[in-house]
């Protein structure tokens, strides 16, 4: 890790597997995060293959069976297999994080582009919106909006996506502000490009860097907050095999010693959130080598 500068100049020459190894060497954080997220993604895709039982298949005689050969992670209070439910839970984690991230980008990025390029009223509105959203603690806002707008998976995704869109708007906006009067934009204007072309063809690729590094971090937040909502009992309800809802079910057995109902979905939740966080942290290192090397 001492040869950051050398790696950087050599990076474009990497192809295929060499490139992958190069990235892994430059940021082990990124590589570990990527590996973790990949494992959970595979878990989500192949949940029905891996899981020995259905996610809401009940075994009435096996209620609260401790982990063992038959139920690897034990059985919960409804006699459902915790292992199978944890596997299926990955689908909810990605099923929330991925569409929420798309909403954040689809709303936030164009808003930031236009606000930064045009300035004026729209810019003012985006900034004020950001201020207001920041003054609310995110958990209270998300909880209040989901509770008010109706409790469904779709609403949870929409609320998370909308709440985070201003973050991307602000990131892109600040980049665009710096680029607005640069040479390539001015020549694009002089060449007679329409505004949408300048925004999306010329400015977008040059201002998206900060936002890409942020995606993984916000996806981590999306998984976390949706699970928190489900734990409180808002949005996704039991017996849906969502990790937060499963921890909620497990919480009543903690004092009586049936730890496995709450433990395993929590481990999965920590794993996937940590994976996304490592990925985001590593991405920031890769995109901004100075960040890591500062102080050296």
């Amino acid at each position: 890790m001492t040869d950051v500068a050398v790696d950087k100049s050599a990076a474009p020459a990497f192809t295929g597997i060499g490139r992958v190894l190069g990235v892994a060497r430059r940021s082990p954080t990124f590589a570990i995060g990527f590996a973790i997220v990949l494992v959970f993604a595979l878990m989500a895709i192949f949940a029905d293959v891996i899981a020995p039982y259905g996610p809401i298949e009940t075994f009435a005689r096996q209620v609260l069976t401790p982990p063992g050969a038959e139920f690897w992670f034990g059985a919960d209070g409804n006699g459902m297999d915790v292992f199978s439910r944890v596997m299926y839970g990955a689908r909810y984690a990605f099923g929330i994080a991925v569409p929420a991230a798309i909403i954040m980008l689809v709303i936030g990025v164009p808003l930031g582009l236009v606000a930064g390029y045009k300035g004026g009223m729209l810019d003012e509105i985006v900034l004020r919106l950001m201020d207001v959203l920041r003054s609310f603690p995110s958990i209270v806002l998300a909880l209040a909006v989901v509770a008010a707008t109706g409790q469904s998976l779709v609403n949870v995704v929409l609320v998370i996506g909308f709440l985070d869109a201003p973050i991307f708007a602000r990131l892109v906006r600040s980049e665009v502000l710096g680029l607005r009067s640069s040479g390539f934009v001015e020549s694009a204007v002089a060449a007679g490009n329409p505004t949408w072309r300048i925004l999306f063809v010329h400015l977008l690729p040059n201002s998206i860097k900060g936002a890409t590094a942020m995606i993984a971090v916000r996806m981590a937040w999306a998984v976390r907050i949706s699970a928190t909502l489900a734990f409180i009992g808002v949005g996704i309800q039991a017996p849906t095999p969502e990790w937060g809802a499963m921890i909620r079910q497990g919480s009543e057995f903690i004092i009586s010693g049936e730890w496995w109902v709450a433990l395993f979905p929590g481990v999965a939740l920590v794993g996937v959130v940590l994976g996304f966080n490592l990925l985001g942290d590593g991405m920031q290192d890769l995109l901004d080598p100075r960040r890591k090397a500062t102080g050296k």
């Binding site: 207001v132 603690p137 497990g250 939740l269």
Partner: protein, 338 residues
Amino acid sequence: MTVRSFLLRRLVLVVPILLGITFLTFMLVRIGEQDPVAMLGGPMADEASLASIKAELGLDRPFFVQFGIYLGNLVQGDLGDSWQSSERVADEIRNRLPASLELLIFSVLLGSLVGVPVGLRSAQRPNGLFDQVSRFVSLLGFSVPTYWIALMAIFVFFFLLQWAPAPLGRLDIAAFPPPDVTGSYLIDSLISGNWSTAYSAASQLALPVILFSIIVAAPIIKHTRAISLEVLASDYVRYAKAQGLRPRTVRRIALRNSITPILTFIGTELTGLLAAVSLIELIFAWGGMGQWGLNAILLGDFAAVQGYVLVLAVFSVAVFIVIDLLVLLLEPRASLRA
């Protein structure tokens, strides 16, 4: 500008922010699907009784009239009544806020006492072993859900080891609350010299405070490290080194310049933490404002939700003003004009 006129100006600037937040919350709870009239009436209520409940709550009036009445009462310190308990919201908050603050303040103190030194040490040798480990631990703290780690800790320390008391509130059932001075059971019982109550309060506090301080410390480690790295790379630190000052002296100069941004950062975190502490309260049956606020949101208790959000907003505004004043005291370069 004197400190007094600075404070006055800040207080005037605060009014539109609080008004905006009040209005947004007011609107948000009302446009939603939650219907307190149907909830209060129950499934057997007929049209007439539903209408009378609606009139009693004032919900039959136009939106802006309702908001006007709410503001008018607010100015007189009346936050309305909770519909679940029919208590006054202001009283409910006054009774519960100290419990939340006790948890929050002890956790933030502990989290800062651990997080700041760890962050500073990390910045001394970036990418060294200590730094790698502390960065990973900090990311882990970002990733662990508060409620889950609390449940696991209760299992280990209450069920298995029996070190911690039952997670059922702020005091043992056998102990009496101490006379109210600061609102913190621990401090109040120490002041009044009631050792057994103090012991009970401390043992109830220990586990939630330690757990929550992990959540508090994670972002503090991350930002202290970043702030310290920036200061260490600054011209004045380089100048100090070039002068041949002893490393200890250089570190002292760097530390002095890191304190204010770190303090500001901790301040910005506090409001979010006051909201987040509600999850810990929920699990330890703490009976604080956060637990009550969560419940109010779930039940669509409009006046209570409005009161809860307003208190969070006032708290955040107050913290910022206090931080600004602290920065003024600590930082000779800062001026009231800035």
